[in-house]
C-alpha cells in the first residue's frame, strides 16, 4: 500500500444504524470509487448498530480490494467498547 496515499475525511453523524446505513455506505463507496482512501471521522458518533458495524467492515474490505486504506478516528469510548467486545475493533487502522 502506498503510504503517502491521500485519505478523504468522511464524518459520521451521531449514529450509524439501519436508518442511515445506506447513505453512509453509498458515500464511502463513492469516495473509494474515486480512488481515494477514507478517514472516517467518528467523533460525533455515539451509537453504532450491528448494521453500522457491517458497513464499516464491508467498506474496509472493498477498500482493501482496491489497495486503498480505511482509517477510523475520534471513536468514543462507548463505540470503542462495543467494537471491542464484538471483535470489530481488530479489523481497522486508527488515526
Amino acid at each position: 500500500m502506498d503510504k503517502a496515499q491521500s485519505l478523504e475525511t468522511y464524518k459520521l453523524d451521531k449514529a450509524l444504524d439501519s436508518f442511515n446505513y445506506q447513505q453512509v455506505q453509498d458515500d464511502i463507496m463513492g469516495i473509494l470509487e474515486r480512488g481515494s482512501g477514507v478517514m472516517i471521522d467518528m467523533s460525533a458518533c455515539n451509537y453504532i448498530s450491528s448494521t453500522g458495524l457491517r458497513v464499516l467492515l464491508c467498506s474496509k474490505k472493498v477498500a482493501a480490494a482496491k489497495g486503498l486504506k480505511i482509517c477510523l478516528s475520534g471513536i468514543s469510548d462507548e463505540v470503542k467498547d462495543i467494537m471491542n467486545v464484538t471483535g470489530f475493533i481488530n479489523f481497522f487502522d486508527y488515526a
Binding site: 439501519s18 450491528s50 467486545v85
Partner: protein, 705 residues
C-alpha cells in the same frame, strides 16, 4: 441476473409481500427481503405479528394467505423491511383440546421456535414489563461474521482437558478484575488465565436464551431475589443468552459470542456447549405460553394419552425428541451452532431422554442419537451425553453411541470420591476408572475416549466443599434443604464447614490435591469444575442453581489464599499434557505386546508387581510404560503412581526401570508446598530407587527416564 420470483405479489397495509420459502424455518434475510417460515402440523391459521423494537403494541399483523402455505408450513417474504428495528412473533389458530394434546390460543403472541436472536431479557436481572403480551421477542439476525481463518479446532478428544464453567459465575465475583463481569467479553479477558491454568477446552453451562426470572423464590436467609442462574431451561434453541453479552442491550450478543469463540480458538481452547433439549421453560400445564406450546403442542411435547405432560426431566415437561419434526429441529440447532458459531462440541443435559420414544419408552436405536452420530456437519463435533435422566433411566456405559458419543462417567465421580474418603469397598472399581473404565466401555469397542472423567461438576459439591462438608447445606435455596444430591460421598476431614484448625485445613488441601491427581492420571477425558483450581467453596451448597451471588460466583482472591492448590493444578495439568502415556485413546492391554521388556500398563502394590499386596484395600500403585506412547517416534517416560488412601504411612517397593534410567519425583501430595509438586521435566531424582514412603492419604507420582 434478477430472479423472476423475487418481486412482490401482494400488498398488505403498505407492506409488499409474496409467498415465502418454506425452508429454512425461522427468519432469514435475503437481500432486501426477509423470509419468515414456521411449521405447525395442527394449526389451522397463522398470523405474523410485527413490532417496532421494544414497543408493546404491534404495528401490523399480517395473515398468512392461503397461497403462503405449503404442506404444514406457513411462509412469507416481506420486502424492504427495516429488520434491525423489527421484533416478530406469531399468532396460531387451532383447537384448544388439551385432552387431545392441542393448546392453541390465538390471544397469545408466540416466539418463533427457530428465533436466532431473542430480546426481552437483555440485561441480567433487569425487571421486565410483566404485563407485556410478548415477553421473549424474536429479532432477525444477519448471520455474517468475519471468522477469517477460524474453524473448530478438532483437538483429539483424548487430548482434551475440559473446564466446566458458567458465564456469570466465572467473572462476577470479587477480584475478577474484568471490565465486563459475567459476560462473553469477560471470558475473553480471562483467556490469559485459562492459558496459565493449561486447560484446552471450556464447557459452558447453558448459553441458550433462558429467563433468569423463572425462579420466583426469595432467599429464606435474607429475602433477596433468587434466580434461575444456571439456565437449564430453554426459551430458544437457536439464540444466545442476550444478558450474557456486554453488548446484549444493543442486540449484538451473536457477534460477541462469535468473537469469544474466535479468540478462544486462537488460544487453542475449544468451546463445548451444554445443551438442554430435554425440556423447555414452558413447564407443565400451569406454565406460560412462550412458543412451542402455542405453535404445536402435540408435536413438541411428550404427552400422556390424555394430553398431560410427561415429566422425565423433573422440570414439568419433556421435549418430544423422537418426533421426526422435533428431531429435525434439534439437528438443525446443533448444525447451526457449529456452522455459525464454530462450536467444537456439545454436552447433552439428561441425554437419556433423547433416546425415549414418543410414549417415553427407551429405544434400543434411538433415531435422534443415530442421526447426530452420523450427521455430516457434526462429523467431527464432540458429542457428550449426560447418560441419565430424571425418570430413572441410567445409561452410563450403555448409552447408544455408534462409536461417536462420549459420556459423563458418573461412576468415575462416585468411585473416586469414595476412595478419597478411605472407603475400603471400592478398590476394584477405582482400578477400572483409572484405566479408562473398560468395564463400561470396552464391550462396545468405544475405547477410553468414551469416558469423560470428573470428580466434581456443577451438580454437587465443589472440590473444596467435597472435603469440607459431610452434608449439603442448601437452606439458602428456599426449598428447606430438600433440593440437591443427598448421596455426596463427601468427608469434611473432621469438622463441618470452615475452620481455623490448621491440621484440618492442611488435610483438606491435601485431599484436593489427591482428587485432582486421581483425575489427571486416569485414562479418559478429564473435566475440571471451574473454581476448583483456586479452592472455591459454595459454603456447602451443592445445588447453587439459583444463587446469583457470592455463593456461586468465584472469589478470585482465593487464588492467593489457596495459592498452593492453584500451583498444583497448573503443574499437574501441564504434566498430563506433556505425557502422552496418560492420554491413550484405546484400551490398555496390560501386556508387553511389542516386546519392550515391560507391559504397556501394570498394577503394583506395596510390593512391586504384586497388586494384591496392599493395606485394607486402600493402597494401589500402577506403572505406565512410555515406550508404548511415542510422540513422533520418541518414547514417553515411564510413570509410576502410588496412592495411599490409608490413614497411615506405607512404603511402596518400586519396580526396577530399564538400565540407565532412574525414578524422579514429580508430585507428592503428602509434602508441603513447594515440594509437593515440581515443574514437569525438571523433577529431582529419588534418593532411594527401591522404595518410596507414601504418607497418610497421599499420592506420589514418579517419572522414570
Amino acid at each position: 441476473m434478477l430472479r423472476v420470483d423475487l418481486f412482490p405479489t401482494h400488498e398488505y397495509k403498505g407492506l409488499k409481500l409474496r409467498a415465502g420459502r418454506p425452508y429454512p424455518f425461522g427468519a432469514t434475510v435475503i437481500g432486501n427481503m426477509v423470509n419468515f417460515s414456521v411449521y405447525s402440523r395442527y394449526a389451522t391459521d397463522c398470523t405474523l405479528v410485527l413490532f417496532h423494537n421494544r414497543e408493546e403494541k404491534p404495528f401490523i399483523e399480517i395473515p398468512f394467505f392461503r397461497e403462503f402455505r405449503l404442506g404444514n408450513v406457513f411462509s412469507m417474504i416481506i420486502f424492504d423491511l427495516d429488520y434491525e428495528n423489527i421484533e416478530y412473533g406469531f399468532r396460531m389458530d387451532g383447537p384448544f383440546k388439551p385432552e387431545e394434546g392441542h393448546r392453541f390460543d390465538r390471544s397469545k403472541i408466540l416466539l418463533d421456535p427457530y428465533a436466532r436472536l431473542i430480546t426481552g431479557r437483555d440485561v441480567w436481572g433487569q425487571q421486565p414489563n410483566w404485563d407485556s403480551l410478548y415477553q421473549y421477542r424474536a429479532r432477525v439476525l444477519l448471520n455474517d461474521f468475519d471468522w477469517e481463518d477460524d474453524l473448530p479446532l478438532e483437538t483429539p478428544v483424548n487430548d482434551l482437558i475440559v473446564y466446566e464453567m458458567h458465564v456469570r459465575n466465572f467473572t462476577c465475583g470479587a477480584g475478577s478484575g474484568v471490565r465486563h463481569q459475567g459476560t462473553f467479553a469477560g471470558i475473553i479477558e480471562k483467556i490469559p488465565y485459562l492459558n496459565e491454568l493449561g486447560v484446552n477446552c471450556v464447557e459452558l453451562m447453558p448459553i441458550h436464551e433462558f429467563d433468569e426470572f423463572e425462579n420466583k423464590r426469595t432467599s429464606p436467609i435474607n429475602g433477596s431475589q433468587l434466580y434461575n442462574l444456571w439456565g437449564y431451561s430453554n426459551v430458544g434453541f437457536f439464540a444466545p443468552k442476550a444478558a450474557y453479552a456486554a453488548s446484549g442491550r444493543f442486540a449484538m450478543q451473536a457477534d460477541e459470542l462469535k468473537n469469544m469463540v474466535k479468540q478462544l480458538h486462537r488460544n487453542g481452547i475449544e468451546v463445548i456447549l451444554d445443551v438442554v433439549f430435554n425440556h423447555t421453560a414452558e413447564g407443565n400445564e400451569q406454565g406460560p405460553y412462550i412458543s412451542y406450546r402455542g405453535i404445536d403442542n402435540k408435536t413438541y411435547y411428550m404427552l400422556t394419552p390424555d394430553g398431560h405432560y410427561y415429566n422425565f426431566s423433573g422440570c414439568g415437561n419433556t421435549m418430544n425428541c423422537n418426533n421426526p419434526n422435533v428431531r429435525d429441529m434439534i439437528v438443525e440447532s446443533l448444525r447451526y451452532w457449529v456452522t455459525n458459531y464454530h462450536i467444537d462440541g456439545f454436552r447433552f443435559d439428561l441425554a437419556a431422554i433423547l433416546g425415549r420414544d414418543q410414549n417415553g419408552n427407551p429405544m434400543s436405536n434411538p433415531p435422534l442419537l443415530e442421526s447426530l452420530a452420523h450427521d455430516p456437519i457434526l462429523g467431527k463435533t464432540k458429542l457428550i451425553a449426560e447418560a441419565w435422566d430424571a425418570g430413572g433411566l441410567y445409561q452410563v456405559g450403555s448409552f447408544p453411541s455408534w462409536g461417536r458419543w462420549a459420556e459423563w462417567n458418573g461412576k468415575f465421580r462416585d468411585s473416586m470420591r469414595r476412595f478419597l474418603k478411605s472407603d475400603d469397598q471400592v478398590l476394584s472399581d477405582v482400578k477400572e476408572r483409572i484405566i479408562g473404565s473398560p468395564d463400561l466401555y470396552a464391550s462396545q469397542g468405544r475405547g477410553i475416549k468414551a469416558s469423560v472423567n470428573f470428580i466434581t461438576a456443577h451438580d454437587g459439591f465443589t472440590m473444596m466443599d467435597l472435603v469440607s462438608y459431610n452434608s449439603k447445606h442448601n437452606e439458602d435455596n428456599g426449598e428447606d434443604n430438600r433440593d440437591g444430591e443427598n448421596n455426596n460421598n463427601s468427608w469434611n476431614c473432621g469438622c463441618e464447614g470452615k475452620t481455623d484448625n490448621p491440621v484440618i485445613n492442611e488435610l483438606r488441601h491435601r485431599q484436593v490435591k489427591n482428587a485432582i491427581t486421581m483425575l489427571m492420571v486416569s485414562q479418559g477425558i478429564p473435566m475440571i469444575l471451574s473454581g476448583d483450581e483456586m479452592g472455591n467453596s459454595q459454603q456447602g451448597n451443592n445445588n447453587a442453581y439459583c444463587q446469583d451471588n457470592e455463593i456461586a460466583w468465584l472469589d478470585w482472591n482465593d487464588l492467593q489464599k489457596n495459592a498452593d492448590i492453584f500451583r498444583y493444578f497448573k503443574k499437574i495439568i501441564k504434566f498430563r499434557r506433556m505425557h502422552k502415556v496418560l492420554r491413550y485413546e484405546d484400551n490398555l492391554r496390560h501386556q508387553d505386546y511389542l516386546g519392550y521388556g515391560y507391559p504397556d500398563f501394570s498394577w503394583h502394590g506395596v510390593k512391586a508387581w504384586q497388586p494384591e499386596s496392599g493395606h485394607d484395600n486402600l493402597t494401589l500403585a500402577f506403572m505406565l510404560n512410555g515406550q508404548y506412547a511415542k510422540n513422533d517416534g520418541v518414547p514417553d517416560d515411564f510413570i509410576y503412581v502410588a496412592m495411599n488412601m490409608h490413614w497411615e504411612m506405607h512404603g511402596f517397593e518400586l519396580p526396577k526401570l530399564p538400565q540407565g534410567m532412574a525414578w524422579h519425583v514429580f508430585a507428592n501430595t503428602g509434602i508441603q508446598t513447594p515440594y509437593d509438586i515440581f515443574e514437569p521435566g525438571e523433577e529431582p531424582v529419588v534418593e532411594n530407587q527401591n522404595e518410596v514412603l507414601v504418607g497418610p492419604r497421599s499420592i506420589i507420582i514418579l517419572v522414570g527416564r
